[in-house]
């Protein structure tokens, strides 16, 4: 059975062209780019080329604004810790309650060290209240960190606007753009975004490579000190093969940008409509009008997400869920909670995230497979009876033992 991979917001397949580009850098091109001899020579040139391509993808003004890191999480930590260290008199951080754990966990830890973190709330569609944001902007704030697009729902935040508001208040702005880069056009030179994180494995490059974009002139304190690599801003011998791979992936992303926003989004829409039509009591979470082209997060009420995933897996369909069981905690996804999605639906959310490799045939198969799976599980659900939910489901089944 051919597997259908619809979990591209988790990670993506490395494009075969990227692999081809990388392979020589494991064998014949093994030199250290810092070396004078010709072993290092070619590697240095290849890194330079990759940096240029990523500059183009991000619409950055200078290639020296691109700093290679090991992953998106490192970029996030570097950005926030740098802002705090460079401005020790500022003790506040603004972020949102739906950020990726790379930001949230760091912020929670910073709270224990005496920093004040403001978490912006979202409404039922996952949108931010910019007035509430405006009120928080003060000269006590060291940095604002807001994701460009949400990994679970695909909802896009108006980061360019928010960066401008931060800029006007004299505050640094960072965005975790690991889901957005490669799917949405980005033009950093005309924006007020000071720092941006991206992660290779979300755009068909390998794992273990990330980028921190750092706008020229932004005050900066490195996380890793040591060598002169990345102009002393991120020490450590360059992961040359992965950097070359990311460069190739960036080039491919640029070439496929229009495709992603037409073809892939059309497939996503087809999938979403097909499922919603066939499955009662299901709905899309997040803001469908402002969403990544590849993502659809659908809540199937009254059933549990992990069970859905396991049954889908039997049909060779890979997706992910905001259910508690898949995250190893008892709580459903913090993103669903933040949007006020009731528990009976939040546990049953399934995220379908597509890529340019998905075909219409695959989507047709998924549309066919999902409704019976949901029906089967609803038969087992205490909240379900016959063709619909029981009356007042929350009351009819309210277990006392958790």
């Amino acid at each position: 059975m051919n597997d259908i991979y619809l979990d591209n917001n988790a990670t993506t397949m490395v494009d075969p062209a990227v692999v081809d580009e990388m392979l020589p850098f494991f064998s014949e091109q093994f030199g250290n780019p810092s070396s004078i001899h010709s072993f290092g020579n070619k590697v240095g040139l290849a890194i330079k080329k990759a940096r240029k391509t990523i500059q183009t993808l991000l619409g950055a003004e200078y290639d020296s604004e691109i700093i290679f890191t090991s992953c998106g999480t490192e970029s996030d930590s570097t950005a926030i810790l740098s802002a705090l260290r460079a401005q020790p008199e500022r003790k506040e951080i603004i972020t949102t309650e739906v950020e990726h754990p790379a930001i949230l966990t760091l912020c929670e830890n910073l709270e224990t060290q005496g920093f004040v973190v403001h978490y912006l709330k979202v409404d039922e569609k996952g949108r931010l209240d910019l007035n509430a944001y405006q009120r928080l902007l003060s000269d006590k704030v060291a940095i604002v960190s807001v994701m460009w697009a949400n990994n679970e729902t695909g909802t896009i935040f108006p980061v360019e606007k928010m960066a401008e508001m931060a800029q006007n208040a004299g505050i640094m702005f960072h965005t975790d753009a690991v889901q957005a880069v490669g799917k949405l056009p980005v033009n950093l030179k005309d924006s007020c975004i000071h720092m941006l994180s991206l992660s290779g494995h979300k755009l068909h490059a390998p794992k273990g490579i990330g980028v921190l974009y750092l706008k020229r002139g932004t005050r900066f304190r490195p996380l890793l000190r040591g060598g002169h690599q990345e102009r002393g801003r991120r020490a450590g011998t360059e992961n040359a093969a992965a950097i070359v791979g990311l460069g190739k992936a960036a080039q491919l992303a640029l070439e496929h940008m229009a495709f992603e926003n037409s073809h892939v989004s059309a497939l996503r829409d087809k999938l979403q409509e097909g499922i919603l039509k066939a499955v009662p009591c299901s709905f899309v979470t997040g803001d469908p009008d402002n969403r990544l082209p590849n993502t659809a997060n659908i809540a199937f009420e009254y059933i549990e997400g992990e069970a859905i995933l396991l049954l889908m897996n039997k049909f060779g369909i890979a997706a992910s869920s905001g259910s508690a069981c898949t995250s190893g905690s008892l709580e459903p996804s913090h993103v669903m909670k933040a949007m006020g999605i009731p528990y009976t639906a939040a546990h049953g959310t399934v995220r379908f995230s597509l890529s340019r490799y998905n075909t219409e045939e695959e989507i047709d198969k998924v549309i066919e497979a999902v409704p019976p799976i949901v029906a089967k599980l609803r038969k087992l659900s205490p909240y379900w009876e016959g063709d619909g939910p029981v009356e007042e489901p929350e009351k009819s089944f309210a277990p006392v033992y958790a």
Binding site: V43, L45, I171, D190, A258
Partner: protein
């Protein structure tokens, strides 16, 4: 040496004018062995005309020091002494099709050797302006001593001032932390505290206008009525041409489809399609067109199928 240009390599592997000029009447020595960089420039200058007839160099230095010296000797031959002094280290770097940032100081050394040689020829005393310290700014080859002295002499208190006085920090900005460190120490020594500059202003997008920015334009200006349709289309095309480069930077483009009174139909192409900023882009275009025509217009983007409908097919 992966970052060296072909020109640098050429001058390094096959340097011109290596060795001392035997009957030299101008000698300039700069650098120091302890820094691993030293250069002696010897010139033969014609007394009456001040023209440099011959030039030679000897250097204890890296590949780009050799290349820079070789380039410099080629550049000065045939010039008068005054003309030669006009050569900046950037000129030397340009002659070599550029030097990597961390090697720019080699061209600085060449320029200093030239000054020293000319002073020697004229019998002047060249004041030794600085001893070398650790490099602070690699982009402009500015060392710590230089930054510190300048900060002290001019009571500087911001990175921007340091850049204006010394160039340090004016490139990639990776050295700003080091400059701030020096400022902190030097200002403390004179009883002040260093306060970093507020977040620098950045450029805003030209086309992606905010709603608030859109100027109110009086509808139905009498002047507008005088324009013929052809004139209006010409003006519209011209305005679109002005917007085009910034759209193309975003990998998009725009095409004029039809003009029907106040309604202007355009087609967004490439990355503009489906871009989350498409509506902002249309707003920006509308604003530009209103300015160009001096009248209120409504810009509507059309898709391919709407296009067919418009054409009445």
């Amino acid at each position: 040496m992966w970052d060296y240009s072909e020109k640098v390599k050429e001058h390094f592997f096959d340097p011109k004018n290596a060795g001392a000029v035997s009957d030299a009447n101008a000698v300039g020595d700069v650098g120091s062995l302890s820094c691993g960089d030293a250069l002696r420039l010897t010139l033969k200058v014609e007394d009456k005309t001040d023209i440099i007839l011959n030039a030679g160099f000897q250097t204890f230095g890296c590949g780009s020091a050799i290349a820079s010296s070789s380039a410099l000797t080629e550049m000065v031959k045939g010039l008068t002494v005054d003309e030669a002094l006009e050569i900046s280290n950037q000129d030397i770097a340009d002659y070599l099709d550029g030097l990597p940032p961390e090697k720019m100081h080699c061209s600085v050394m060449g320029r200093e050797a030239l000054q020293a040689a000319v002073a020697n020829y004229r019998g002047e005393e060249l004041e030794d302006d600085h001893e070398e310290g650790a490099l602070v700014c690699k982009c402009f080859a500015i060392d710590e001593v230089m930054v510190r002295d300048t900060v002290r002499a001019n009571s500087l208190s911001s990175v921007e001032e340091v850049t204006n006085y010394t160039k340090a920090g004016g490139g990639c900005s990776a050295c700003h932390e080091g400059i701030e460190q020096i400022l902190t120490e030097e200002m403390e020594a004179r009883g002040e505290t260093f306060t970093p500059a507020p977040i620098a202003a950045t450029k805003k997008n030209v086309v992606h206008l905010k709603k608030e920015d859109v100027k109110k334009i009086e509808p139905e200006k009498p002047a507008a009525a005088k324009l013929t349709t052809v004139q209006r289309i010409k003006l519209i095309e011209k305005a679109l041409d002005e917007i085009r480069p910034s759209l193309q930077r975003d990998h998009g483009d725009v095409e004029l489809v039809d003009v029907d009174g106040k309604n202007i139909y355009v087609k967004l192409i490439g990355a503009c399609v489906g871009c989350q900023l498409a509506s902002a882009t249309v707003g920006g275009i509308q604003q530009k067109l209103m300015e160009a025509l001096g009248e209120f217009v409504k810009v509507t983007p059309v898709s391919d199928e709407q296009l067919t409908n418009l054409a009445g097919v």
